[in-house]
Structures are given as C-alpha cells and as structure tokens.
Amino acid sequence: MSASALLADDSLWELFSRAISLRDYNTRVVLAGTTMLGISGGLVGAFLILRKRALAADVVSHAALPGIALAFLLAERFSPGSGRSTGVLLLGAFVTGLLGMAMTLAIRSWTRIKDDAALAVVLGLFFGVGTALFTVVQKTKTGNVAGLRDFVFGKTASLVAADVWLIGGISVAVIVLCGGVFKELSLLCFDEEFAAARGYRTTMLDGLLTLMAVTVTLIGLQSVGLLLVVALLLIPPTAARFWTNDLKIMSILAAVIGGVSCAGGVVLSSSFPRLAAGAVIVLTGSVLFLVSLVFGKERGLFPRWRSQRQFEQRIGRSDLLRACYELLEPILGSDETTPESLTIYEIDALVLSVTRQWPRGRFHGLIATAVRDGLLVLSSKDGYHLTLRGAEEARDAVRRHRLWEIYLLTQTDLDPRLVDRGADGIEHVLDPDQLAELERRLGGESPHGVPPSPHPIGASGT
C-alpha cells in the first residue's frame, strides 16, 4: 500500500491503519455509507447551486427538528419504545422538512417578503418550535433526549450498522436517480423556458430536485448534524465550480469532493476520537474548497492571476519592441525597416526607457525578459541590439498598432492625436484574421511591410 510510504510516522500510521484497514465491521459500514452520502450530496448540490437554492437545505435541516421531536412523541404514545427508530424519526423530519419548504414557497409567492428573508423566517420559526418540542420530549418519562440530540450535532461514529444501511441505500438511490435524469436536470438549471418548450415538465423536475435535496439533507442529519448538513450540499459543488465550466464534469467532481470529504472525515474522526465527525467532514470539505479556490483550473485565483500576468507580460514585451522599432525607424527610413536592417543598429537603453513612461523596475524587468527570450542582446554597457526574431516581432507589433491607427483615422472622426491611445489598447487583442481583414479594408498596401505612422512619433507617444 502506497499510503505506508506517505505516513512514515509509526504512531500516526498505527492510528490510521486501524481506521483505514477497517478491522472493525461498524467502521467499514459507516465509512461506506457516509461516503455514499457525500457523493449524493455533492451531486444533488451541484444542481441546487446552479439554481441558487443552496441555502434551502439549511432551512430543511432546521425544519426537520420539530418533526423529529413530534415523531418521537407520537411513536412513544402509540407504541412505547419505538420512538428511537431512525425510520420513524426520519419520516417525521421528512414531513416537517417539506412543510418548511412549502412555507418558504408560500411566503415568497404570496407576500412581499423575498427569498433570503423568507428562508430566515421559516428557519427561525421551525427551529423555535423544534426546541420547544425537544424540551417537552425531555420531560416525558421515556424521553432521554440523548438519541435525538445526535440529530443536532451529528454523531457519525456512533451510527449503528442498520442506520447506515438506510443512509447508504437512500444515497445510492438518489445517485442513480440523479444520473437517470441528468440531462433533464441540466436543461432545467440552464434554461428553464427552453426545457419547458421542449416538452419537459419543469415543475415536476423542480419538485424532484427539491425532493432529492430534502432527502439528502435528512439522511445527512445523523452524520453531520442539522446545523452543518447544508455543507454537504453546498461546499463540494461550490469547490467543483472552480475547476470547470462543464456541468457534467462539475457534478462528477462535486460528487468526488463530497465523497472524499466524508470519507476523510470518518477516517480522521475514528482515528482521533476527540474530533467530532460532523465538524471534521465539513472542515475536510472546507480544505478542499480552499485548494479549489486557489488552484481551480477555470476560476481559481492562481490560474487567473497567472493568465493575467502572462497577458501583461505579452503587452509589455510588444510595447518594448515597438519602442525599439520606433527608435530605429528614423535612422533607417521607414521603407528600409527589414528585419535584417533592424538588427544592425544599437539601441541605447537610456533613450529607450524615456520613450514610454515605464517605471524603472518595470523597464529593467522587461529588458531582462526580452534578453532571456532572445529578442534583445546586450552589446555594450546599456546598449542593446534586436535579434532577428526580436526584429520580426517588433515589426508585427508596429504593424498591428499602425493598422488600427489608420483604421481609426479613416473610419472615425477621431483627432489624430487620440488614435495612438486608442490603438494602444486594441493592438494586443487583434488576432491574425482581424489583421488580415484590416489590411484588406485599408487597401492592402504593403501586405507584409509596415505602414508608416500616420502621426509624428514622439508627439503623442510620450
């Protein structure tokens, strides 16, 4: 097992191995069931997130509290001793959870109280009633509230196999169902009207999604606790969103993150008995979320920062080369600026640095990068030569800039003094097709040469 290589520390390994090797039947079952729960949570959550309903799960979990207490009271009343059966309690939770959802919908559509406040009102009301009922339970003869309290804070480790079979079984059913109606649900999330026009019953699909969300929330109660169960549906898909724009990949990733955080939580909390499983599951998810936030390929901070930086570097490089060209142009004459001739003359760094108002540090950085990339070579102290490659790139940069300037001058009534600025912004984002089109429209003079500048250089360039 490669894990042994990772965990050199013997004592830590001992703790982990006990949890990972699953010597104990109950741990094995709990691990499997909770992982299934995490997978189904991530999967259903992906759709909830897209419909901007993630926090509805929080309301459902809070609304479950009075249902659990009521179910216990009623079960104890009619057949004493049956009150702690998970099935009965979950049924109660299901009823009031749905009731809470219904009330949110009613408030939202019948009053002027909107989404977030409607959620907050229902949450407060149901939680209050639930607490009151819990104290009632506590005061009945049979009502040791301990078993019920696990629903509030969650107690993964103490789950019994029978409960886990229930949780795991329902999770698998949700996963299968979700996979079965995947196409319909994606359509619902992205374009509800289109889905309706295609003949899908959007109300039914929406109801199905809600039902699945309620189900996952409720079976998650015992593992994570009602205060945190929303995290199962919320964190994995939000984390997955940083990696991809494709819903299919996103939901698979959300399922994986959900599964991993649940499994990790169970393993960690059974290795360190002090750690509350629910909190560890959530925090494992949070860590994965942070990793995604920073490194996520599509929206992560680091990739975005890097592509931003690369873009800035490209701009700086082409600005520098253009400045080189414009320094050499008067010496060569604008008809003689072949790549070869551009490499002949030396460029004085000091003169170059004042052509544009580069800060000192940035200028030296640009020069260093250009030398490293083989565009410039240092020929004397503070004197540089363009290389052949540098000269070609410089010609390209100038051509892009001037084509756009000429285009602006011929197509708009802009003041010639302003076109330089306008071209500065655009030249870097022109692609070859657009350049070809520009050249075609401007009459196709000097197809591969560089047109002369339409305005005196230096007057507006500095």
């Binding site: 977030d116 407060g124 009632v136 009945t140 003869k141 560890v280 925090l283």
Partner: protein
C-alpha cells in the same frame, strides 16, 4: 379555559424577569434585524449567530490562557471572559461578513453559496475546537445553543435583585437604539439605495461592516441569556412581520420592537400553558412546560403568520377580499350592460309590449342560467341596491340602474371606436378588448376618448353610443 390558565396562577417574579429578559433581547435584535432585512442580508444574521461560536470559543481560550499565564487572577477571569466573548464574536462576525464578500468578489461565487461555505466552515471549526479541548474549557454547547433563559434571572447583580441578563440586554438595546437614532439617515439611505448613499458620501463599506459588528455584538450578548434560537428568530421574524404591516421605516422599526416584546410575553405564557394541554390530549401526562426561548421564537412565528394572513394592506385575506370585490363589481357591470343591450334590441314599443317583453325575458333567462355564480350574486346585490327590479328570472333595470348601465355601454363602445380608429384589428377583436377595458375607464378618460374621436354617434358595429 380554566385548566388552560391554571399554570399561570403560579406566576412569580421569576416569570416576570424571564419575560423582561426575553423582551429586551428580542428588541435589541429587532433593531439591526430591520436593516438586515431591508439590505437583503437576512441570512447573514443566521450565519453570524453560528460563526460567533468560534469567537466565543476563542474568548474562552484567551481568558483561560491569561489565567494560566498569571496575567489575571481566576477571580477576575469571569468578567474578562465576558468582555473577550463580546470582542471575539464581533471580530468573527465581521470576519465572516468580510470572508463572504471576498469569496463573492474574488471567486465569483454566488452570494448565498459564499455565505453558506463561510458559515459552515467557521462553525465547524468552532465545534471542533470545543470538542477537541473540552477538558480545558467548560462550554456547555446546549447553553450556547439553547440558552438558559429560565435560569438567567437567578444570577443577579448586587443587592438590587435585578438579573445580570436584564442589564446586559438592556444595555445592548440602549446602544442599538442610540446608534439607530443617530445614524438613522445614513442607515436608511444605505439600506434602500446604496448607490445614492455612496454618491452622497456615506461610506457604504463602513456601514456594512458596522452593521455586521453591531449584529454580532447583539447576538453574543443575547446568546448567554436566551440562546441562539431565540436570537436567530428575533433578528428577522419581528422585522419581517412589521414589514408586512407598514411601508414606513420608522413605523416598521417601532412595530418590530413591539412585536418582539409581545412575542416574548406570549411565548413564555404559552410555554407554561400549552404543553400540558397538548401533552394531555395526546396522552403524555407528565409534561409541565416547554422551553421558553423556543416558544418565544414560535410565538414570533405565529405573529408573522397572523400578519401574513390578516395584515391590513398586504395580508392574504385582504387581498383575496379585494379580488372578490373586483370580480363582483365586474360581474354586476356585465349584468347591467347585458340588460341595457336587451332593452336596446327589444325596444318597448307600446303596441307590441307583450312580445318584446317575452323576448327579453327569455334572453335574460338564457344569460343568467349560462353564467357563473358571480352573475347570480351580482344580480341579487344589484336588486338590493335598487338598480334592478323584478325577480331573479325576470330582472329589469331601474332608472338609476339604467344610468349606470349607460355609462358602461358608453365606455365599451367608445373603446371599440378608439381601437377601430387607431389599430388595424379584425372586426371581432374590438369586442374582447372592450369587454375587459370597459370596467376600468374613468370619466376623465372617457371625456378624453370622446374628444379624440370627435364625439362619435355610433360605434364600429353601427350601434349608437349612449350619451
């Protein structure tokens, strides 16, 4: 009734203090709650109430560490801890608001998802710390969560006999009141129109974080005495209830304070009276009372539902009633119009009075039997008002009724003429539109139409437009 009130006969000073503490906490919460609601940040309060657990835990660690390091003596630890808890909660509250906003901006995460991620993570961290170091600090999770409003009055200050919780919550209420009054203009503007507020030089960011800090402070002060449930409920439910009742912000704030206080009283009374009643009816005899904090939250919810159903302006009942009235008005106007047209097509020529009479009666009969219950009720109402005479099966317009009917038919035909003049519509299309619009044209508009059409004598179908 008697048995319902029996538990109240043992009402003591303690019960009074419980109600006072609950009311003070509810009122203190309602003030920032109003602005949270208007700023569409209702769930932020809920989130902060969760995350401030982390602040509370942090405060425990700090005060514990200070005692260990012999910076403070164990005797002063308690008071230091209270201050530290308050500071910790404010810090974490502002932190969670800031994290949520950063996630939203930096990571392009949708606001509710960002909120959810932040509050579950921070709360989980708080829980983890409590469990991991439970030996060192004695935090009763239940107490933080549910509060012990019942025992809160026991801890009194000095010899005055005034419970500490009253002073703490009262003090917070006072601070909130003062800040609300002093910063009323700024708060109102930044709640309703943040863009305008920014252009007027009100620092929106500072207001935002200030409100978050204030919310966190209020929450943590109330936590200890009443528990987070009451706090979560009281932060939003009373303001939401008030919002259903009025359109004016000062009135909304006043109402939410009142509703908070009423909820506290109602909640405690029902905590004493309802549980025995309910438990006896389902056959569990030994329940005396329920959690007062929970019942206070439930009472606030009850008042909300009441306002939602019976509110004078936005209540469901009022709106249903208005819709019914409108439907009845339209039905009665339709009945009047129908009778007017029947009189038109069957003019009471004296020589042939009988046959025209019969024709009108049969066509009325056909009308009233093919139309819905609304027309029948409308006919009955019109008869009572004296606009119709005769019997249900043979209704006739009275002079006043004919006058009203004439106005209606005039509206109908003027509108048809207007449509014919300005729109290229098929012949059959005028009628449908006019059938709807005729009920909503006021005299001014009619005069305008009449003027626009150069006082036409007939409508596009060639029928006379009554004057």
């Amino acid at each position: 009734m008697n048995s319902l009130l029996t538990p109240l006969q043992t009402w003591t000073l303690l019960d009074t203090w419980i109600v006072v503490i609950g009311a003070l906490a509810a009122m203190a919460c309602a003030l920032p709650g109003c602005f949270l609601l208007l700023r569409k940040q209702s769930l932020m309060g809920d989130a902060i109430s969760h995350t401030s657990l982390l602040g509370v835990v942090g405060a425990f660690f700090v005060s514990h560490w200070l005692v260990e390091a012999k910076v403070i003596s164990p005797t002063t630890e308690l008071s230091v801890r209270h201050v530290a808890m308050c500071v910790g909660a404010i810090v974490v509250g502002v932190l969670s608001a800031w994290l949520t906003e950063s996630l939203q901006k930096l990571g392009n995460v949708e606001s509710s998802a960002a909120l959810g991620v932040v509050f579950t993570s921070l709360f989980a961290l708080g829980l983890l710390l409590i469990r991991a170091f439970a030996d060192n600090v004695h935090i009763d999770l239940d107490c933080v969560l549910y509060g012990e409003i019942v025992t809160a009055p026991m801890e009194t200050v000095g010899k005055s006999g005034v419970p500490r919780a009253v002073i703490v919550n009262g003090f917070v209420l006072l601070i909130n009141l003062l800040l609300t009054i002093l910063l009323f203009k700024e708060l109102r503007l930044s709640a309703f129109d943040p863009a305008l507020a920014t252009t007027l030089g009100i620092p929106a960011q500072t207001m935002h974080y200030g409100l978050m800090g204030l919310t966190a402070m209020t929450l943590v002060a109330a936590f200890e005495s009443v528990g987070s449930i009451l706090v979560i409920a009281m932060l939003i439910i009373p303001p939401a209830t008030a919002y259903l009742l009025t359109d004016r912000l000062p009135r909304m704030i006043g109402l939410s304070l009142l509703i908070g206080a009423i909820s506290a009283a109602l909640g405690h009374v029902s905590a004493l009276t309802l549980p025995p009643l309910i438990s006896r009816s389902i056959g569990i005899a030994d329940v005396q009372d329920a959690s007062s904090a929970g019942m206070m939250a439930a009472a606030a919810g009850f008042l909300f539902v009441l306002a939602m159903l019976l509110g004078p302006r936005y209540g469901l009942a009022v709106r249903v009633w208005h819709r019914l009235l409108l439907k009845l008005r339209i039905a009665s106007e339709d009945v009047l119009g129908q009778l007017y047209r029947m009189e038109e097509t069957a003019p009471r020529v004296i020589a042939d009075a009988d046959s025209s009479d019969v024709r009108q009666r049969t066509s009325w009969h056909r009308y009233i039997t093919t139309h819905s219950w609304k027309s029948r009720i409308a006919t009955w109402l019109l008869m009572r008002r004296g606009w119709l005479t005769g019997s249900h099966s043979d209704a006739r317009l009275t002079d006043i009724g004919r006058e009203a009917a004439r106005t209606l038919v005039r509206s109908h035909r003027l509108w048809e003429s207007f449509l014919a003049k300005h729109f290229l519509l098929g012949e059959g299309r005028f009628h449908e539109s006019a059938e709807q619009v005729e009920h909503f044209l006021d005299p001014e508009l009619l005069a305008e139409l009449d003027h626009d059409l150069d006082r036409p004598g007939v409508d596009p179908h060639g029928r006379a437009i009554p004057k």
